[in-house]
């Protein structure tokens, strides 16, 4: 008695289907394992501004790379296969190229279609800043620029991490000055100097900037947020000598410009992610 065609078809479907389910199950187990590994791995991976919590980020990001494309200074990069489950997701390596808010309007956050980089808090911060400004100055001065007010508030709303200073290698702590260009020759990183004398509208290479400081305070003067984020604190030393130390304050956004500009090798500042506690 021969089997009908549909009967053979049905059996093949069941057989192949069982195989497919087994393969899917294996993939699920593998991914679950990788997810556990990724928790450790993601601690070192600094996400672009506005990134939601790592547990959500890992599924919210569809790895399209729009944030990479929009970044004017190419600070955002896509992680490679070495980063396991984070493969294809965006990160920032501040030592190579920090985020210096060159775009002014958090473009990588605004461009993200899936809200892995969530724009809503930035939007709110910008709007609040405008209303606050209008309340404080009912008749705005002639140099009033709503965009600047808004973008400043949006910048300050970023919380990628927190700068942590290594006090054993920091030049200021040692009481040393700094002269010359901050990074090794051939370094390609760029940033926009907040120094009012330069009035930079576009980012320029780090090594185009010549510094001459009695006490090294590059991280403090070049911070795009300013003295609400990092200050140089004077401390009386143990042997009566004056001692200096950069102190990171609450407004630090973790953008990493200080990491990039620090003239010591390795950099005396690192950015630590906040959310992984």
């Amino acid at each position: 008695m021969g089997k009908s065609n549909s009967e053979i078809d049905r059996r093949q479907f069941l057989k192949n289907g069982a195989f497919a389910i087994a393969a899917l199950g294996a993939a699920g187990v593998g991914v679950n394992y990788l997810k556990k590994l990724n928790k450790e791995n993601a601690k070192t991976l600094l996400r672009p501004p506005g990134a939601i919590h790592e547990d959500e980020f890992i599924y919210a990001c569809i790895k399209c790379g729009l944030c990479v494309q929009i970044c004017p200074i190419e600070a955002v990069k896509l992680a490679g296969i070495n980063d396991g489950l984070s493969y294809g997701t965006p990160y920032i390596d501040p030592l190579m190229q920090a985020c210096d808010f060159s775009c002014d309007a958090m473009q990588c956050v605004e461009t993200c279609p899936t809200a892995a980089l969530d724009f809503i808090p930035f939007k709110k911060a910008g709007e609040n800043a405008l209303t606050d400004y209008q309340k404080a100055n009912p008749t705005p001065g002639p140099d009033y620029n709503p965009f600047v007010v808004q973008s400043k508030a949006m910048k300050s709303n970023t919380k990628m991490g927190l700068a942590v200073i290594n006090t054993t290698t920091c030049l200021a702590v040692k009481g040393e000055g700094f002269k010359g260009v901050p990074r090794e020759s051939g370094f390609k990183g760029v940033y926009r100097s907040p120094n009012p004398k330069r009035q930079e509208r576009k980012a320029s290479p780090v090594n185009d900037h010549q510094f001459n400081r009695e006490i090294c305070d590059l991280c403090v003067t070049e911070c795009p947020i300013g003295d609400t984020a990092i200050i140089l604190e004077e401390k009386p030393g143990t042997d009566g000598r004056k001692q200096w130390q950069p102190k990171v304050l609450d407004a630090c956004t973790g953008c990493g410009v200080c990491v990039m500009i620090c003239p010591t090798t390795p950099s005396s500042i690192v950015i630590e992610k906040l959310e992984m506690v």
Partner: protein, 310 residues
């Protein structure tokens, strides 16, 4: 699986009633006098390569025409979303509350893709845009060569398992809270490799291609890829289609030989067609290979509804 009430096939034509019989020559002679043309294949490869070039050039030269990659992009500022990625996001989102955070651009992109591929129909994305398809389509010839030389055996599976994979990947995404499919998706991997530079992960794509060459023809595209399934569901009732005209058909089945999804051309076999006019089904990629190869113009591109007016 699902038993559709089958229409009785139209009885096969006699040899004298074949379209070429009017010329007084045999089908073989007639076929030889109509050389194979590659019009649609060339157009299609042109579009595929140009669009992927546009993705690359938009980033490389910062011209901003087609930004992003195939998993999500922006065409002149208009967002486009990969439908399966979008579905996964929405499913995970509904289970975690992330759904409310999804942006307007996300839904604009999703619905534009839905409408666009509904109009084009079937798995148009596959053969007209997908870079993995381009590689697989060409390595398929190598596979066919090995089969013909009897170096390897053909391994076929049930075409229905792609729906199991589709559901499974969606479930996995919800259960593990990771875009499982996107991490192994060769389409996204190649697209990112083209745009952002190659990486070691391309070895996975090479492995897949090798598997397809030496073991099972077009394994990924036919039995696994949920992106293709999504598109085939979107474009199932699309107006654009491949139209089959039984009265012009000589039953040479050359079209089935070149077809990338031969089961969709089941009606070209002698005595199988149940209607005078058939349309290729949802898995049809609208690649046009059958249109190119058909000597009697029995297979043609058509827009359903409009073909009756002209």
């Amino acid at each position: 699986m699902i038993n559709i009430k089958k229409l009785t096939p139209i009885p096969a034509k006699r040899r004298e009633e074949m379209p070429n019989s009017k010329l007084g020559i045999t089908f073989k002679e007639w076929k030889a006098s109509n050389p194979n043309k590659n019009k649609w294949r060339n157009i299609r490869w042109g579009v595929l390569l140009f669009m992927n070039f546009l993705f690359w050039a938009s980033f490389a030269f910062d011209i901003g025409i087609l930004e992003g990659s195939l998993s999500g992009s922006r065409f002149f500022g208009i967002y486009l979303m990969d439908p399966f990625n979008a579905l996964q996001e929405m499913f995970i989102g509904s289970s975690t509350g992330f759904f409310a955070m999804l942006t307007t651009n996300f839904f604009i992109g999703f619905f534009i893709i839905l409408i666009f591929y509904f109009l084009l129909g079937g798995r148009t994305f596959c053969s007209w845009l997908c870079p993995y398809h381009f590689l697989a389509e060409n390595t398929e010839k190598l596979h066919n060569y090995f089969v013909k030389k009897k170096k390897i055996k053909e391994h076929n599976y049930n075409k229905g398992i792609k729906y199991i994979f589709w559901t499974g990947f969606l479930l996995l995404a919800v259960l593990t809270k990771v875009l499982v499919f996107e991490t192994i998706n060769p389409v996204g991997i190649i697209s990112r490799a083209i745009i952002y530079g190659p990486g070691l992960v391309l070895l996975w794509v090479v492995a897949l291609l090798l598997f397809e060459i030496v073991y099972s023809k077009r394994f990924w595209c036919r039995y696994v890829c949920p992106i293709g399934v999504s598109y085939s569901v979107i474009g199932k009732l699309s107006p654009t289609a491949i139209k089959f005209d039984l009265s012009k058909c000589g039953h040479c089945r050359d079209c089935q030989d070149v077809c990338l999804v031969p089961h969709e051309l089941w009606f070209v076999k002698r005595g199988e067609a149940t209607k005078e006019i058939h349309f290729a089904g949802a898995d049809c990629t609208r690649c046009g290979l059958c249109v190119d190869v058909c000597y009697g113009d029995a297979l043609k591109y058509t827009i359903r509804g409009f073909d009756k007016i002209t």
